[in-house]
Amino acid sequence: MNTKNLSEMLKGCRPVKDKDGNIIVQSILNMQVVCLTADAEYSLDDRFANPLTSLVSSNSSYGQITFTNKENKEVILPVQMAILTKQQAQNHGMVKAGYVEPKANTTYHDAGCIQGGQTGYFNGTQEFRMIPVSMREMLFDKIGETSGYQNIYPAIQKLGEDTKSGTGNYLNIYFEKYDKKLDQFIAHFERPKNLIGIIVLIDGEIVAIDKFPSFRYAEQVWDLMIRDCYGSLAIISELNHKSAVNEFSQTYEELKKSNRTTIVDLLEKSLKKTKERMTANVNERIQEVLDLTFDATPDTEGQSTSIRAPKSFILKAEGYIGQVLTENEFNHLVSIIKRERFNPNAFREVNELRNKARRQKNFSL
């Protein structure tokens, strides 16, 4: 079994910062988004085709999806795409990311049904959506499981509970209920130029990391990622009455005690300090996960066996699970999700003690 370090998997990337060097943190409620960028030479803009327009999907048995690439360029399938079709057919979803060679097709047998009682196979459709990120952990756990079509049902049921949408085994019910809200959600986040990845935090903890193959690819999937994928986190936060902390006001009150200056100066200092604090918090959290080492298991189900094709690995570390598509040590796509049950604070305490232990010198006289 291989191991892969997150800092190595995200090499070449860096957070987008403002002119003062602070990481730009975009927020809504208790959710924050940090955008990653890279030097242009590491963005393979011309190599891969648009996954949302170059692929058509079909299936001929439940629990499988075939993607046909119409273009003469390779396609990387974003993590956990869903097919929500208007055809008389059963909607399906992927449990992972994938790869399709130019003018070729690939069938994944570890896909799953996302529309319980509906029957029928879909054919030649491009009705793609993304599966909400809050389901991602449970789906990654199903990678490689090819027996049956029920891989995604438990995750849909959980989404239904988390979002009070009564989905049962029907993902479309969730989208039908929240589509309008999700559309508006897109407007809350701005996509910077040369985006190559995203880090998502909830309550100040990193819950998801995505690195895309190129700037162009990120632009192509941005709206879907924000709306379908990350939008579920904001909906869950809203339902749980979470809100943003008034960080600026708190900082202002603190600085006011020790500063005798004009109001405008104090406002400026407070804003600077607030941004520095937000940056420091995000920095700390990113640093923690960068230290993570993942066990990497090859994922072969449906993936191309061609020597030239990127290889897929399932990543597992304490509290995190993910996938990487890599080729000659160049990581095209990385997707990491924090396990819901994992409490980073407990982990931090253990780590702190472990680090202390490491620093201790051996007993000697």
Partner: protein, 545 residues
């Protein structure tokens, strides 16, 4: 007009509806935006109009008569008004005697219609009338208003050529199949047999008087020829250049389009693209011929408006036509911006935009020392569902108009891709001249703050509390949000929000703040303005004054 009949009890509901309604009136659009589909936008507009109408039937018309009300809002209000019977709905603000019997109702409708045409052009009114047909609205009041409007157009000959089919479609709906046929028959009898001068019967004269001459400011013979032209029954009609200069030229163009100057480009293209046109095979049958003919027409026609010429900049260059357009004569700021975004902002365009902003400056603006923050984040560029760069153009032009309307101003634009309005607001405060403190601050933004949602409101709240400043802070949004019922997505409680599609609406919206102080007085002023409006729906006093 006697006093308003508005009761103290209904005042709070009226006040809130007016405030919400004004935002919709000046910010609503029918098109999809970055955030919302067309259906959602329309639903929000309908919802607000419905709400206003239910509170009191005068409210939607009062808002539609305000300067800066969007074409879509005015159209929907008029459509709603025409749908209702004259006496339908309750008058809870103006005394019904004044509203119905003293004609304020009519004046309100005509003022709104004027507003629609003056700000948006004739096609908006025609679209409204066609929509009336689609919705099968054809009551006596709407008929009279449509006929008065169409026959009362001073430039009716030109419009008859430019919008021939649409006007015919509207007239046919308004007159009905049978009466259209009768009118055409009378027109045919008295015009085609020119010289024979067949005398109309008493009954025919009555029909013509009631249906045409009552509204048309000209003689019957002229009206008949126009009618026959509109309905394409004019094969035997002769148009003399002294009476119908444009129709005479149109007749020429039916044979030869070369050298035609006064017929709209699209009409000439329509003629030549018909295989029946004598020049079709020599000028339109191949792609090369088409391009050459288009270039010929573009370079010859002289009746294209400056605004349209500005919008055609790219296609004119593509056709290889060198045509100088005097950009400074353009009156549509959006045409200038769109051309700038498409072809680059040349010095000439920038000067034209600056001069147009100067022309559109708000006369007698309340504030003279202002601070302006403009959100330059990515979402302000619009996207594929919204006309590209529209919000950004509105924001930029609004800032320029504000700048031109005051004595002193400080301008700060957000930096980077995200909306960091808090930093820009503080920067604005830093640049304030102590000798000329701001009397108002304008933040031009879509209201979607990125870092973090609510931060600007915190900064404003603390600044107000600490400095004791009570100056108004206005949030001007080029976009309304369907999720807030078609209103502006506010940055917070410390700002006064306005939706603006055109800077001309700023003063109206600020005036409307008087609403919050004295709603009754504001309404009285509006009704008095309607009462004094120089509009009437009979001939002589054209609705197009």
């Amino acid at each position: 007009m006697e006093n308003l009949v508005l009761t103290q009890k209904s005042l709070p509901a009226v006040k809130q509806s007016l405030i919400d309604g004004l935002t919709i009136a000046s910010g609503s659009k029918s098109s999809a935006t970055y955030y919302h589909s067309r259906d959602e936008q329309m639903k929000a507009i309908h919802g607000q109009i419905d709400k206003l109408y239910k509170i009191s039937k005068e409210l939607p018309l009062i808002l539609a008569s305000q300067k800066g009300a969007t074409g879509q809002f005015v159209s929907e209000v008029l459509l709603n008004e025409f749908k209702q019977t004259l006496k339908g709905g309750a008058c809870n603000i103006v005394n019904p005697i004044d509203w119905y019997d003293n004609g304020i109702s009519d004046k309100a409708v005509l003022s709104a219609l004027n507003n629609l045409v003056n700000d948006n052009g004739l096609p908006y009114a025609l679209r409204l009338f066609v929509e009336m047909k689609n919705q099968k609205i054809n009551n006596e009041r709407s008929r009279k208003i449509v006929l008065g409007f169409l026959w009362g157009q001073p430039n009716i000959e030109f419009y008859a050529i430019k919008y021939r089919n649409k006007i015919a479609q509207i007239l046919k709906h308004v007159y009905g199949q049978k009466k259209t046929s009768i009118l055409l028959s009378i027109a045919n009898k008295q015009t085609v047999y020119n010289g024979a001068n067949l005398v109309a019967t008493e009954k025919e004269t009555k029909i013509v008087n009631e249906n045409i001459l009552k509204y048309f400011n000209g003689d019957a013979n002229k009206a008949f020829k126009l009618l026959l032209f509109l309905f394409k029954k004019d094969d035997d009609v002769r148009y003399f250049a002294d009476e119908f200069p444009l129709l005479a030229e149109y007749q020429k163009a039916k044979v030869n389009i070369v050298g035609i100057k006064s017929i709209p480009e699209e009409v000439l293209l329509g003629l030549i693209s018909s295989v029946k046109h004598p020049q079709y095979h020599s000028m339109w049958s191949t792609d090369i011929q088409k391009e050459t003919t288009k270039a010929l027409i573009r370079s010859t026609v002289e009746v294209t408006s400056v605004n349209q010429q500005v919008r055609q900049t790219k296609s004119t260059a593509k056709l290889g036509v060198e045509k100088h357009v005097d950009l400074e004569k353009a009156t549509d700021f959006m045409a200038l911006y769109k051309t700038g975004y498409e072809n680059g902002f040349s010095h000439e365009i920038l000067v034209a935009i600056g001069k147009l902003a100067e022309k559109k400056r708000i006369q007698g603006f309340f504030y003279q020392n202002i601070g302006i923050v403009v959100d330059d984040s990515m979402s302000m560029t619009g996207n594929k569902v919204e006309s590209k760069n529209t919000p950004r153009a509105i924001a930029d032009f609004t800032a320029k108009v504000l700048f031109a309307s005051v004595t002193n101003s400080v301008f700060v634009m957000t930096e980077g891709f995200a909306s960091d309005l808090a930093s820009s607001f503080i920067e604005l405060l830093k640049q304030e001249n102590p000798a000329k403190p701001y009397d108002a601050v304008f933040i031009i933004t879509d209201g979607y703050e990125n870092a973090y949602d609510g931060m600007t409101n915190e900064v404003i709240a603390i600044w107000r509390a600490e400095s004791g400043s009570v100056i108004p802070i206005f949030q001007i949004s080029p976009i309304t949000g369907a999720e807030v019922g078609g209103n502006v997505r506010a940055l917070g409680t410390g700002v006064v929000t306005m939706a603006i599609n055109n800077p001309v609406a700023i003063q109206t919206q600020i005036n409307a703040r008087l609403l919050e102080i004295d709603t009754k007085r504001w309404l009285e002023n509006q009704v008095h303005a309607l009462e004094a409006a120089p509009v009437k729906r009979t001939k002589k006093i054209s609705v197009n004054v």
